[in-house]
């Protein structure tokens, strides 16, 4: 498929969705149902690949682009993921100029605090999946303490956890 057309179809999906997988129905409709350039099985693989790797779940679209037209398709998809993000800049300008108003500030902080509640809620299913024994409990506790009360970079905590998991597996 032509690079530009692929970009337009993908950007249509990213511009009309507001979270990682919300673009899925439109992608499926355009690529699987209407144009037959992707199979349902490939779409599933793309979603899993997006969730296995690091970074945003929305990057599954890169995997979709790759299935449709190889590496150039993946590049078109990355552009489609990035494009809508720049809409935030005029909004930052507008709100930033009005942010000294206590009411606007109250609203922004209200959103932030409810974001903390959402974060806690989002961690629950993850905790249920990941915390399966004494070792994961220890990893949760140690990473919480280290990240809350020291200045250690997050990446070291992630790598240390991976190393511990690997060592535990290899030692049986």
């Amino acid at each position: 498929m032509n690079f530009f057309l692929l970009y337009l179809l993908l950007v249509k999906a990213t511009l009309t969705s507001f979270s990682g997988l919300a673009s899925l129905p439109m992608i499926r409709n355009d690529f699987v149902v209407t144009r037959h350039v992707l199979t349902d099985r490939q779409l599933n693989t793309a979603v899993v690949a997006g969730q296995t790797g690091p970074g945003p779940v929305g990057l599954y679209i890169v995997s979709v682009g790759y299935f449709v037209s190889g590496v150039p398709g993946a590049a078109a998809a990355l552009l489609a993921v990035i494009t809508p993000a720049f809409l935030v800049i005029p909004m930052m300008r507008w709100f930033g100029a009005r942010a000294s108003s206590p009411r606007v500030r109250g609203a922004i902080r209200g959103v932030l605090l409810s974001g903390a509640g959402l974060l806690l809620s989002a961690s629950m299913p993850l905790a249920r999946d990941a915390v399966t024994g004494a070792l994961p409990v220890a990893i949760v506790a140690v990473s919480f303490v280290v990240l809350s009360f020291t200045r250690v970079q997050s990446v070291w905590v992630m790598l240390a956890a991976a190393a511990v998991g690997l060592a535990a597996k290899l030692m049986g």
């Binding site: 970074g55 995997s63 993921v81 720049f86 959402l118």
Partner: protein, 210 residues
Amino acid sequence: MEPSSLRYDGKFMLTRRGQEPSLASLTWLFTRVGNTTFGGGYASIAALQRELVEREGWITHDDFALAFSLGRITPGTNIVAFCAATGWRILGMPGAVGAVLGETLPSAALAVLITQGYESGRSSAVAMAALGATAAAVVGMMWAAVWMLTRPYLGRSAVELRRVVRAMAFAGGAFVAAWKFGVTPVPILAAAAIAGLLWKEPEPKEETET
């Protein structure tokens, strides 16, 4: 002790604070944090909050709050919009481009490799053990972020008590709505914005002059 990021200097979000990083160090921070965090957008935002606000002090707690709020209502992937917003706050348009590419490019390349890996049917139990352990670390990191996000609102004085109640109402309300009643994020955040507009935040005395 109040974190410096909370202090209101009367020039809220109109001037940049602290030292400006170079474009390379900004891009590298987003690359490092964005591509080593598994578990989706919230996990990355939790890690970035810690690095940008608490460790580096490149943006204030309020800048972070604004970028988080606006990132949520920008179409597309919220975390990418969040990176554009914070990168822009720190270094203008080049900062936005650096942050967005740093956040997405390595992960995108990896997504292609993983796709190829799945296609050729390889999956290793050893790799899965390492991934499972990082999932546990992500849980700890998300809880640390909840702690750091709410901590500035947990004061001790009498004026602060009303701030604590207000903060707990927002955070607790959102948690209960999402976890117990399965409400999706956008309506929760919209309700929080409206409630925040109507329910004025009690300001500590030394922060009231503008």
